[in-house]
Every structure is written in structure tokens, then in C-alpha cells.
């Protein structure tokens, strides 16, 4: 995986950003972190295929062109159309989620991307959340990344409303206003237990969600 985006990826990334703004009017809320040029892992709640588009739309063009979304290879690597979308049009890092059949270690794939200078959009729940819960339990991936690359900032991003715009199984998006709230970076403390860290990161992300009586019913 090279560190730079292809021209096609930059063009399609910009087009998607224009489209995402037209449909959702998305805008970033920087609540504790601001664009600073540092290499980052943006970790976000996940309920829609549109989630990573919203996060990348909120980034500066320079940051967007070096940011890749971590996606499941079992879905995005199967079939020609999906492969074309995930490998040529978009910047993705495909990881194999299936423990038994996988041929490449997903951690290695993500670390290679980080070492090539990329920022990542990462969904620590591991899959789209289809439950009534606001946020599922985090898988270990975020902890492993934080432990292996402590210099990379971990920025929590709460994506609001995208699951109403483009829920699972829907083809056409309903225009609704969306926001992405970027919170204060979370860092792994020295010797911190995996479970404690993952819970802390999850709470940091949940804290960015609007209150129940707030503006997203």
C-alpha cells in the first residue's frame, strides 16, 4: 500500500465530499481536537456504508488525500464492482475479519498503512451496529493499534444521523442534516489494561453523542 493517493482517488474523494455535502449538509464540530497535520486514527461509531464518507468529507483536502478507511475484506474485496470501488476509487485498507480463513494478519495490513504515512478511519465496533444500543463493545483492534504505534493520535468521531440517511440495505439516501463531532484525542497510558483502555475510548466516543432530549431524536 503506497502512501499517496492516486489521481482517481483524489478526484472521486472530492466528488464524494461534494455529494455528501449536498445530501447531508455535513459539517465538522471540532470539540477538543482541530486539524493539526499529525497522523491520526479517526475512530467512529458505525451504522451505515456512508459513515467513512462523512468523516473524510469533514477533513481538509490534504488530510483527506492521505486518509484511508479500514474496511472488511470479506465484503469490500468480493466481487468486481466492490473491488473496483474499494481499491481504485476510494482509499481503503482491507482487512480480513474471518479468523479461520484469513491469509493476511489484519494488524499487519493496518500497521503497513500507518508506516506508509496514512491516517486511518477506523470503526472499533468491527461491524455496522444494527442494534438499539448507541455503541457496541469495542473489539481489540484499537488497543493493538494504540500499543503498536503510540505516536499516532486517536481521535474519537461521533457520526450523527447517517444511519437515518443511508441505513443498511438502502440504495438511495434521504437528505437529512448530519454532523461529525471530533473529540479530544485518547492516548493509551503506560501499562494500561486492554479492557480498561477500550472502555475508556468507548466512553470518550459516547460522550460526543447528543443527549437523548437533544436535537437528534
Amino acid at each position: 500500500m503506497r502512501g499517496r493517493a492516486s489521481v482517481l482517488q483524489i478526484v472521486s474523494g472530492s466528488l464524494l465530499a461534494v455529494l455528501a455535502r449536498a445530501v447531508t449538509g455535513v459539517r465538522p464540530i471540532w470539540a477538543g481536537s482541530a486539524p493539526n497535520g499529525r497522523q491520526r486514527i479517526y475512530f467512529a461509531n458505525h451504522a451505515s456504508h456512508g459513515d467513512f464518507i462523512l468523516v473524510s468529507t469533514c477533513l481538509t483536502p490534504a488530510e483527506r488525500s492521505r486518509t484511508a478507511a479500514v474496511a472488511g475484506a470479506d465484503y469490500w474485496g468480493s466481487g468486481r464492482v466492490r473491488q473496483f470501488i474499494s481499491r481504485r476509487l476510494l482509499r481503503t485498507v482491507l482487512v480480513e475479519r474471518n479468523w479461520v480463513e484469513r491469509t493476511v494478519d489484519p494488524m499487519q495490513v493496518m500497521l503497513d498503512a500507518l508506516d506508509a504515512g496514512q491516517s486511518l478511519i477506523f470503526f472499533p465496533e468491527g461491524t455496522r451496529n444494527m442494534t438499539e444500543e448507541a455503541l457496541l463493545r469495542f473489539r481489540s483492534g484499537l488497543y493493538n493499534l494504540a500499543a503498536a504505534r503510540p505516536d499516532v493520535e486517536l481521535v474519537p468521531c461521533w457520526i450523527e444521523n447517517m444511519s437515518r440517511v443511508l441505513p443498511k440495505g438502502a440504495l438511495l439516501p434521504i437528505p437529512l442534516l448530519c454532523r461529525v463531532v471530533f473529540g479530544e484525542p485518547v492516548a493509551l497510558n503506560e501499562g494500561e489494561d486492554r479492557k480498561i483502555f477500550l472502555d475508556r475510548a468507548r466512553q470518550a466516543l459516547l460522550a460526543l453523542a447528543p443527549q437523548k432530549d437533544g436535537n437528534s431524536r
Binding site: G25, I174, P175, L176, N215
Partner: protein, 310 residues
């Protein structure tokens, strides 16, 4: 471009320049960092420059430009409205239809000047089709609430707002080709009334009109704003087929309707637990925050003018 259009445009630029100079002076003398009221005032004036530029640009393209502009206003307003409502999975097709079919068709009917259909397309056909479609999806949970929210949304955001560009189609004898100026008259008085109510309210506001709905609406602001905006409307009679007295009375009616529009919008926002509809227009909030008064004023103004002058 007629002489009157140019005069109106120069007048608007003059008003905005004056406002910018005054706000600039206040900001210069005020201690830094600026108090939030002044910050908001500066943002509002800046947004007004952009809105006046946008409307003027649309006017350059005549009726088509204005219809397209308001189709976009309706789209943005509807998006803000639906975001605030309680949507379920079974509503998807109805919601998509509101954005992809009802909004474009309503403005297309205005473009082809089919009064007989655009005046009933939404209240008759869509109001029957939308609940039918929702019912066919089978989800009856809070059915009446969902259907009413959808219908009220399409009414406010599309049907009512579309009566602004529809003014251009009115065949008023003696002002052929000047329909755009009638639109300019309505927008200038209603929006002027909003601004003047804000100014009078800030300067003299003591007694709240509806404290449980909006803390910023006061009797002093309401009366001062509507009186001065009606006078301004009378002074703008040369844009219209009306006499100065008629222009003043129509302006007063539009401003009162505009006030009710703002009040109803505030009640919906309060019910939904938000302060602004959105964030599209800096300092003002969303599109509906700026257009809520036009929503109520436009259809009433349209039908009175249509009844009495055509």
C-alpha cells in the same frame, strides 16, 4: 434590467453598507473580544450580503432563476424539517418521494404556469398519496403522528414557499413583465420586518409576547417592527401595481403573517428541543430560521393579490 430594478438594487446595497458601517464602528469601539450580540450582528450582516447577492443573481435569470432558487430553498427547508421529525424505516419511500418528486413537480408546475394544478397538487393529491404509501408499508406505530409530520413539513417547506416565485405568474394588468418586482416587494417587506423587529426588540424590548415559546419576541419589537416595515412597504409602492396605501396595508398583513410564521416555527423547534433549524446561514441558523416568516406570508399575499388585482 429596468430602472426600477436598478434603483431597488442600489437601495439595498445602500442599506447593507450603512448596516456594515454602523456594525463596524460598534465593533471597533467595543472591548475585545466582542460580546456575543455584536459577533452575531456581524455574522448576520455578512450573511445578508451573501443572501442579497444570491437573490440578485437569481433575478438576472428572470422567472426561471427565481423558481430554481426557491426550489433550492424548499429543499434545504424540508431537509432541516425532516431531520427534526420522528422517521421510521417504513417512511423511507414517502420521504424520498417528498424530496425527489413532490418538490421538483411543484416548482415545475409553477414554471409552466398551471395554476389549476399547482394550487391543489400538494393539498389534494400528495396529502392523499403520502399516507396511502406509508400505510402500504404496514408499520402502524405512531401512524397518525408520522403522517401529520410529513404533511405539515411538505406544506411549510414546499407548498407555502413555492408561492413566492408563483407571484411572477400572476397576470396583473398593467405590470406585464414586472412580476419579479412583486417578489422583491414581498421579500423586502417581510425580511425587513424581521430585521426591524430584531432592532426594535433589542432597543426597547420589555414585554414578551410568548415567553414559553420564544424569549426574543417582544411586544415592543413586534409593534415597532411591523409599523416601520409597513411604512417601508408603502414607500416601496413604485415596485408594485398598488397605491401607497394599498402597499402599506398589504405590507402590514404580510408582516403580521410573517410574525405568526416565526412563532409557529419557534414552537416546532421548542418541541423538537433545538434552538435553530440548522447551520446553513451563519448568524441566522438554518434556511427555515430565515424563511419561516415568508412561509406564512407568501400564500396569503399571493391569494389576496390574485383575488383583488387579476
Amino acid at each position: 434590467m429596468s430602472d426600477d430594478t436598478t434603483r431597488l438594487f442600489l437601495g439595498l446595497v445602500g442599506v447593507l453598507l450603512t448596516a456594515s458601517v454602523i456594525a463596524g464602528g460598534l465593533s471597533w469601539r467595543s472591548p475585545k473580544p466582542l460580546p456575543s450580540t455584536l459577533d452575531n450582528l456581524n455574522a448576520r450582516i455578512k450573511a445578508w450580503w451573501i443572501m442579497v447577492a444570491g437573490i440578485s443573481f437569481a433575478f438576472l435569470f428572470g422567472a426561471g432563476g427565481v423558481i430554481l432558487l426557491f426550489a433550492f430553498v424548499s429543499f434545504a427547508a424540508l431537509r432541516e424539517y425532516v431531520t427534526l421529525t420522528n422517521t421510521r424505516h417504513a417512511d423511507r419511500w414517502t420521504l424520498l418521494g417528498m424530496f425527489l418528486i413532490i418538490n421538483p413537480v411543484q416548482y415545475y408546475l409553477i414554471w409552466i404556469d398551471w395554476y389549476g394544478l399547482y394550487s391543489i397538487f400538494i393539498p389534494v393529491y400528495c396529502f392523499l398519496a403520502m399516507p396511502a404509501l406509508t400505510a402500504m408499508r404496514g408499520d402502524t406505530s405512531r401512524f397518525l403522528e408520522r403522517v401529520s409530520e410529513q404533511q405539515w413539513g411538505i406544506m411549510l417547506s414546499v407548498y407555502c414557499i413555492s408561492h413566492v416565485p408563483a407571484l411572477v405568474t400572476l397576470p396583473i394588468p398593467g405590470i406585464e413583465g414586472r412580476g419579479l418586482l412583486l417578489i422583491a416587494f414581498l421579500i423586502a417587506t417581510v425580511q425587513g420586518s424581521d430585521v426591524l423587529q430584531y432592532v426594535f426588540g433589542k432597543l426597547f424590548g420589555r414585554h414578551k409576547v410568548a415567553p414559553s415559546i420564544s424569549p426574543s419576541k417582544t411586544w415592543e419589537g413586534l409593534i415597532g417592527g411591523i409599523a416601520s416595515a409597513s411604512l417601508m412597504g408603502a414607500g416601496l409602492y413604485w415596485l408594485t401595481p398598488f397605491s401607497p396605501l394599498e402597499a402599506g396595508m398589504l405590507a402590514a398583513l404580510s408582516c403580521v403573517m410573517g410574525f405568526f410564521g416565526g412563532l409557529v416555527a419557534s414552537a416546532i423547534k421548542r418541541d423538537g428541543g433545538v434552538k435553530d433549524w440548522g447551520h446553513m446561514i451563519e448568524g441566522h441558523g438554518g434556511m427555515l430560521d430565515r424563511a419561516d416568516s415568508l412561509v406564512f406570508a407568501a400564500p396569503v399575499f399571493f391569494h389576496i393579490v390574485r383575488y383583488a388585482w387579476t
